[in-house]
Amino acid sequence: MTMSKTTYREAIKAALAQEMQRDATVVQIGEDLRGGQAGTNPELESGKVEAFGGVLGVTKGLWTEFGSDRVIDTPITESAIIGMAAGAALTGLRPVAELMFMDFFGVCYDALYNQAAKFRYMFGGKARTPLVVRGMIGAGFSAAAQHSQSPYNVFAAVPGLKVVAPSNAYDAKGLLIQSIRDDDPVVFCEHKTLYDVKGEVPDDPYTIPFGVANYTREGTDVTIIALSAMVNAANTAADKLAAEGVSVEVVDPRTVSPLDEEGILESVDSTGRVVIVDESAARCGFGHDVAALIATRAFGSLKAPIELVTPPHTPVPFSPVLEQAWLPDAARIEAAVRKVVSA
């Protein structure tokens, strides 16, 4: 298989393009996926200009390749975007709806939470809702309180939704192709600080199954469980600690729902010491869910109390100084590892 050094952004775009080539029912729906509709630049008339290609350029080029019937620019109207995508998914399309910033789920949550997630169960198993909702998560850009959150914990609490949060370009492409081919509604969380990070990615399409964790570091003393951008921070901490003789295993579940419970427990059983890193929430977050899993299923293996590294229970602050203090980083992870090792 031919591999290329590819950014997370390009890997996501390749997944979208390849699935659109493969399946004519795959459509993209969102704000400024092309951009420039009714703009005053005369060159827009030529049909060659993509004014935005997504606010961070993820969908740039798709409109040129597939046209307005399949790359559908919408007004700023999230409630109608997600509702329309859910209805279209019930009736023969495989829509990929872009929410831009996941924070905006607040203005359209009904369509996802009360509608798409529940169709199959409410209708007695007769519905399929092959819907993907893509959006950016994560702090680190001083995008402030309404453009920096990581609400994958909220989505994962809803039966009927699947929730994906890839930490690297390879996983992003394989998991997004799986999401588009999947017959259930999937919330696909792209961390905005990862878009320019490169990795080796196969040129051809491939899928990664949901609910299969990836061990990004193997070790024997401590297990770190981390997701999305926090995997990179965990790897950094693990590499530094390795130089000091502390052997750290890093487990990236890759999907929040379904969760690879056995993959996590296997590592915990072997190390007996656990640090969980989670950007979602200081209360009722992904980290607390994993901690509860370990406490109920692997208590006998634990040699030390579980350590959680999360942001404080505050909105995401704007000023870079405050934002850096808010965001879990390698130094805090390292400190947590030292604590469980010495306990």
């Binding site: 509702g83 859910a86 209805g87 279209a88 009736t91 369509a111 009360n114 409410m122 007695g124 007769k126």
Partner: protein, 321 residues
Amino acid sequence: MALTKSALLSAYRKMTEIRAFEDRLHEENATGDIPGFIHLYSGQEAIAVGVCENLNDTDYIGSTHRGHGHCIAKGCDLNGMMAEIFGKNDGLCHGKGGSMHIADLSVGMLGANAIVGGAPSLAIGAALSAKTLGNGGVAASFTGDGGSNQGTVFEAMNMAVVLELPIVFVIENNGFGEATGRDYAVGAPSIAGRAASFGMPSTTVDGTDFFEVYDATYEAVERARRGGGPSTIEATAHRWHGHFEGDAQLYRTADQVAELRKNQDPLMKFRAKVIGRKVTAKELDAIDAEARERVDVAVAKARAAEYPPQESLLSDVYVSY
């Protein structure tokens, strides 16, 4: 639009089935054997049927919490509906949805919907599918006067105009959202006028008159099928029962309801218009009797049916997980 005799009889059959179904549910509910809440459609039959007689099985509708009439008009099986309302395994949703979530995608029924204003954004999705797949299909969504104030409805209307989607937004103005009157809750003088301001054809019809609803929908559906985009129809009618069964209806008097039933009965209006022309009173009376028999059978089957097995609790959350 001049309808054939068989089309008239088909429309009447559906309207009278809705009436018989709902009147019987009113009685069955009083026995305490129906779980949860039910919301009855009596008084609005001409709207569901006037709209759906213009649609095929491959067209889709989105519905409301008051959805039994829409289901019957779109072709859902009466036995499956009744069993669902009783919470039985033979129900259209195997007892997992109930009155407020009856769905049958095989006849284009996208589900009753317990979220007020929930249908329009889903229905524009069905319209997008029809447009993208190029199959000539259309969608219709039902929303009440109460639901017409929801922001999602406005967003769906604007999106439909922008994307030129083949959809008919039907607003059923029955005068009340729960216990609050339309004149209090709708700030605009006309719901149809508000829809028109989004840039689509919009009209108001007497929703107790099947022919007015049918003709307005015929025009809107034809326009949608030939690529002319969305329309809105505001149909005024009256809710004969309370918001939900058990509602004491302190917001209106029993005399007012009796007056509505006497003078605003969609079935009586239909009979007055057709008897002596293409059909006879005897033919319609026979259809009434058949409808009551079909509902009798549906109730008997639903009562005799089994509740869902315990193992179904965990099934069908996902296609695969």
